[in-house]
Symmetry: D2
C-alpha cells in the first residue's frame, strides 16, 4: 500500500520522539524526515528503527503531505509558515497558533472531540496543550449544557510528569532534584496555558472564571487534573453529561472510580470520573481526569488530527 509521507519538525524532544514513534508504527504513514537542529546528523533508535536527525534547513518540506511541528513555542510559527508555503498541511504542537497566543489566527484548535468538523479541511491545526486537553475535555459537557453556575470559578489543581517540562537539560529536572519531591508552580493563575483554556471556555458559551494551579510530579509521564465545579443545581445522573457528549468517542473513557495515571499512560485517551460533593451547601462536582501528556496531551492527539486531515481513519495507529 502506498503510504502518505509526513515529516516531524523538532523530533528530539519528548513529544517529537513520541510523534516519530507513532508515525513509524502507523500503517498508513511513512516518516519522510525528522529534524533536530542541535542533534543533526545523530542517530536515534525509535520504535526499533534507526533514525537520523537532520537540520531544519535541510528538511525536504515539499516531499511531505503533512508536517507535525514539535518545535518550541515562539520558534514554531515561522516553520508552520515555511511548511505551508511548500504546500504542506501542518499540525502545530506549539502554543503559537492556539487561541489567546501570539500568532493565533484561523487555525482550528485541535481538541479533536470538540472540533472535529473543522479539522479535515484545515490547512493548519493548532494542537492543544497537555493541561488544556485534560481539563477542557473534562469540563466541556458541563459548560456546553449550561450546568456550571454563572459567574463562579472552576478550581483546577493538576499534576504532570516531568516529560511535560521538555527534554532540555535543566538543573531542576535532574533525577536527584525530582525524586521524592512534589511542588506547585505558576501559582496565582500564572500558567501560559490559561489563555487557551479561557478562550475555549468562552467559546463554549460559559461565563465562568478558571483557577488553575499546576504541579510537578516525580513520574515521567501523565497528567491528572482534579477539578471542583460549582453547579447551577445538583445532577440526578451524575455521569450523564459525559455519556451523552462522548457516546461515540473512541478516545474518551468514563470511569466509575477516580482514574490514576496508570490507567492512561501509553494510550491516546482521556479518562474521566465525576462525583457529587457531599456536605457542601451549594451544589458542586469533583471531577478527576487523566491523560498521558505525550499521547492524548501531545503526539497522540496530533496524529488523531493528522489522520482526519489526511482522510485516514481517525483511530488508526493510535493505542487506545
Amino acid at each position: 500500500m502506498h503510504k502518505i509521507p509526513v515529516g516531524v519538525l523538532g523530533a528530539s524532544g519528548y513529544a517529537g520522539r513520541e510523534l516519530c514513534q507513532l508515525v513509524l508504527r502507523h500503517p498508513a504513514l511513512e516518516l519522510t524526515f525528522a529534524t533536530a537542529n542541535e542533534r543533526r546528523g545523530q542517530l536515534a533508535t525509535i520504535a526499533g528503527r534507526e533514525l537520523r536527525f537532520i537540520a531544519g534547513d535541510d528538511a525536504p518540506l515539499a516531499a511531505a503531505e503533512l508536517v507535525f511541528s514539535a518545535l518550541p513555542h515562539g520558534a514554531s510559527s515561522e516553520w508552520v509558515a515555511r511548511a505551508a508555503a511548500e504546500g504542506c498541511r501542518v499540525v502545530d504542537l506549539s502554543s503559537d497558533l492556539r487561541p489567546g497566543n501570539d500568532y493565533a489566527g484561523n487555525a482550528p484548535y485541535g481538541l479533536t472531540e470538540l472540533a472535529r468538523p473543522a479539522i479535515p479541511n484545515a490547512p493548519v491545526v493548532a494542537n492543544p496543550g497537555c493541561y488544556p486537553t485534560a481539563i477542557l475535555l473534562a469540563i466541556a459537557p458541563l459548560l456546553s449544557e449550561g450546568l456550571v453556575e454563572p459567574g463562579s470559578a472552576i478550581s483546577i489543581v493538576a499534576a504532570s510528569g516531568v516529560t511535560g517540562a521538555g527534554a532540555s537539560p535543566r538543573p531542576d529536572l535532574l533525577f536527584a532534584e525530582i525524586v521524592e519531591d512534589y511542588r506547585a508552580y505558576a501559582v496565582g493563575n500564572a500558567h501560559r496555558h490559561l489563555p487557551e483554556m479561557r478562550a475555549m471556555v468562552h467559546s463554549l458559551g460559559a461565563d465562568v472564571d478558571l483557577i488553575f494551579t499546576p504541579h510537578l510530579l516525580p513520574v515521567s509521564r501523565g497528567i491528572l487534573a482534579t477539578i471542583t465545579v460549582p453547579l447551577v443545581a445538583p445532577l440526578g445522573d451524575v455521569m450523564a453529561p459525559w455519556r451523552e457528549a462522548y457516546a461515540a468517542e473512541p478516545f474518551v473513557e468514563l470511569s466509575d472510580r477516580a482514574p490514576s495515571l496508570r490507567d492512561v499512560v501509553g494510550r491516546n485517551v482521556v479518562r474521566i470520573h465525576a462525583t457529587p460533593l457531599a456536605n457542601v451547601r451549594r451544589p458542586a462536582l469533583l471531577i478527576v481526569s487523566a491523560i498521558d501528556n505525550l499521547m492524548k496531551g501531545a503526539a497522540g492527539q496530533a496524529v488523531q488530527n493528522g489522520n482526519l486531515m489526511l482522510g485516514v481513519p481517525e483511530a488508526q495507529g493510535l493505542p487506545s
Copy 2:
C-alpha cells in the same frame, strides 16, 4: 540529668518508629518501652540503637510519665484509658479522640500553634491528623480574622507520600504499584479527616464549607496542600495574616515562593505561601502549605505537645 520516662504504644508503624527516634534523640526524655504486638520480641535498629518491641499487655505503663499512642484508629482509645488509669498522661496520635470522631471528649485538639494554652495541663491530648495539620495551619489566620467569604467553600487538594497510609503490607502500596503512578482517593468529600477539620473551622468562628480531595504520591514522606480560598475582599499585604498570627512560632515558616516537599521533609515545620489569584472576578487566594507527614503531621507534633505537657522547652529534641 534525670530524664523523663516516656513510652510508645504502637511503635512498629511509620509514626511509631519516628516517635521512638525522636524520643531516643531527645535530651530530656528516655524511652521506657515501645510496644508492637505483632512484632513483640523483635529487635529494631532506630536512631543507631537496638530496641526490642514488647507486647502491649507487657508495657509497664505506670513507669512512664507520658505515653505516646500511635495505635490504629479504633484501637487507641482503650489504651489511652488504660494508660490514664495507671497515672500516665497521653498524647494520642489516632483519630479516636479528635473532634468529630468516635470517642471525642474533653481532650484538647493538639494543633499546638492554635491550642497552646490548653496543652500543658491536659491529661490527654488528641494529636491532629496529618492532612488537618497542613490545612488548618494554612487557613486558620484567614478564618479567625473573618477574611473568608461567609457561606463559600474552601477547595483543598492535598497530596501525601505513602507513609501516610501506614506500614501495614497492602498490595496496593507495593513499590511496583506506586512508582510512576498518582491518584486521587476518597473523592467527593469522603475522607475520614474531614470531621476534625470541619469542627476546627467552626471553632474558629468561620461559616464556610470544605471541599477536600486527597491524593497519593509516589514519594515516601511529605504532604503538600493546595488551597483555594474565596475572600471577603482583596488583601493589601497578602502574607500579613500569617505574619501576625505566627510571629513567634518556631515551627511555622512563611515562604515567598510555593514550598515543595523537600523544603520540609525531616523537619517539624509547616511552610506556607499565599498568593492572590489573578483574572478572577471574586477575590481569592491560592495557598500552598507543606509538612512532613511523619513530623509536624504526626510524631514531631506529638513530641511538641509532649514537651509542653512535661514542662520541657517546646522545641527541644525537634529538628526545625
Copy 3:
C-alpha cells in the same frame, strides 16, 4: 479462526497477570480460565478486558489444551500433575520441575533458545527462572564452545526489579522501603536459582563454578546481569560466539554497548553485550545482559514455549 483454549493457574501474581495479558492479546490463543484462590470471584481489568478469577478447584482443566502454571514454588507440581491427568499439556513457571529442584524429572528445561528441539512434543515444560534466563543465555555460547577457563569461577552480579519478588504484600516491598534503596541478598551463593544454573552449565559440558549475587533494585521491572568470565584465551572477534549461536534467534539481541533495563522492558528479548577486560593479566570478558523479568524471564518465555508446544509460530503474540 478457531482459537486454542488455554488456562492460567495462579493468575493474580505479577507473572500470572502478564500471562493473562499475553494470552488475551494472542491471535491464536483464548483464555479459558484464570485461577487465583485468594481473589476468587474478583474482577481484574487486564489488557482492557474484565476477567473474573476462579478458585483452582473450579478450573475446567479438561477444557484447556495447555495450562500455564504461575503457582508458587512448592505448590505448582501438584497442579501440574492434576492438569496432566486431565489431558492438558503444561508450562510450569515455578521452580518445582527445574533441574536441581525438588520434583525435577523428565520435563525439558524451557530455555527456548537452548532447548528448542525438546519443546514441541513435551507434555510438560519447566520454564526457567528469571535470573537463569538472563545469565545462561549470556554465557552459553562461551560454555558450549569451550572458551571458559576450566576450573575457574564465573562471577555474576545481577539486579532485579521488585516484581521479581512477587505481588504478595511484604512489608519490605512497600514503596517507602524500596525507593532510594538498593541492596544485595542471598549473598554467599545462597540463591535458590543456583541449582538450575549449575545443572545447565554442566549440561553444556563446562567445568566451571558460579558465583552469583542478586540485588534488589528500586524499579518495577527488569533484570541486568553483569558477568565476569575467565577465558582460555583472548577472543579475536569478541561478539562472534553470540553472533554464531544466535544468528537465527528472534528474541536475542546483540548490542555494541552495554544494555540498560529500558532497552528491554516490555519485550520478550534478551539483550547482550560483551567486552574484553583491559589491564588484567589473565584474559577475561565482561558481559552485560538484560531482560524484562516478567517477559523473557517469565510469561513471555512461557508463551514462547507454549507456542512451540501448540504448533503456533514461535514469535506469535510476543512483543520483540
Copy 4:
C-alpha cells in the same frame, strides 16, 4: 569560641553543597566563602542559612586557613596551587592530585583510615574518589594481610546514585531518563577511578588485578560495591581481618548482614559485610560495602581530613 575560617571552591555541585552544609553546621569551623563561577551572585539556602556564591577570582583565599576544592577534575589543580600560594592548606576533592592521575605529586591520598599519620601535617591532601573509598576500605584488610591469592583478579561491581555524576545538567540524567532504569557504564575496565585504586592496591603490597564495573542507579545518593575476592585459603573467622584493622575506627561499621544504601545515607561511614562463598572449589569471599557517595565518598571524608589537618577532633561535625 573562635572558629577556624575555611572556604569552599566549587560550591554549587552536589559535593560542594554538602561541604558547605557540613561546614555551616560544624562547631569549630566557619564558612568564609563559597565560590561558584556560573552561579556567582546567586543565593542558595543551605543548612537553613542563606549563602551567596562568589566568583573564584573574588575568593579571599588568604582569609581561610583551609580550603576545600570541589572543582571539576582538570580545573582543580590550578586552584590548589593558587590557594597554597596564599598560605592555605587544601583538601582537593578532584582526582587531579590522586595517585595515577595527571598532577599527582606528594599530596597524601586521604583515605583517612589508611593514611591517618600523613594527614595532620600535609599542606595538601588528595581526597579519594567515591568508588575507591567504598572499595579500598572493603578490601584493604585482606590485601595488607596477604590473604588475597597472588596474581588473581578481584571482581568489583558497584552501583552509584546519580549525584555521583554531578549536578551539571546532562540530558541523560533527567528524571525521565533515569527512573525505572539501571545500567552499567565504563565497561571493560575503563573507569577513570581505576588508576587510583590500582596504585593503592600496589601500595598495600598486593599483586592482584582489579576488574571494576560501575553502574548507575535510579536513586539520588549512595554507593554499594559487591566484591568477589579469591583467597589464599579459607578464613576461619571471616570478619576478623576487618575487626582487627578497624577496631578503633569511628567511621567503619561491620555488619552481620549485607548492608543496603539506607544503612549509610546521610552518614560519614562505610559499612562492610563479608561472607564466604559456598560451592566453589577455590576459596573466595563475597564482600558488600556501602557508603553515602557525598559523605564518606566526598564531603564527609574531606571534613574528616580537614579536621585532622586543623587539629580538630576527627569526628567533629560529622554524622555517624
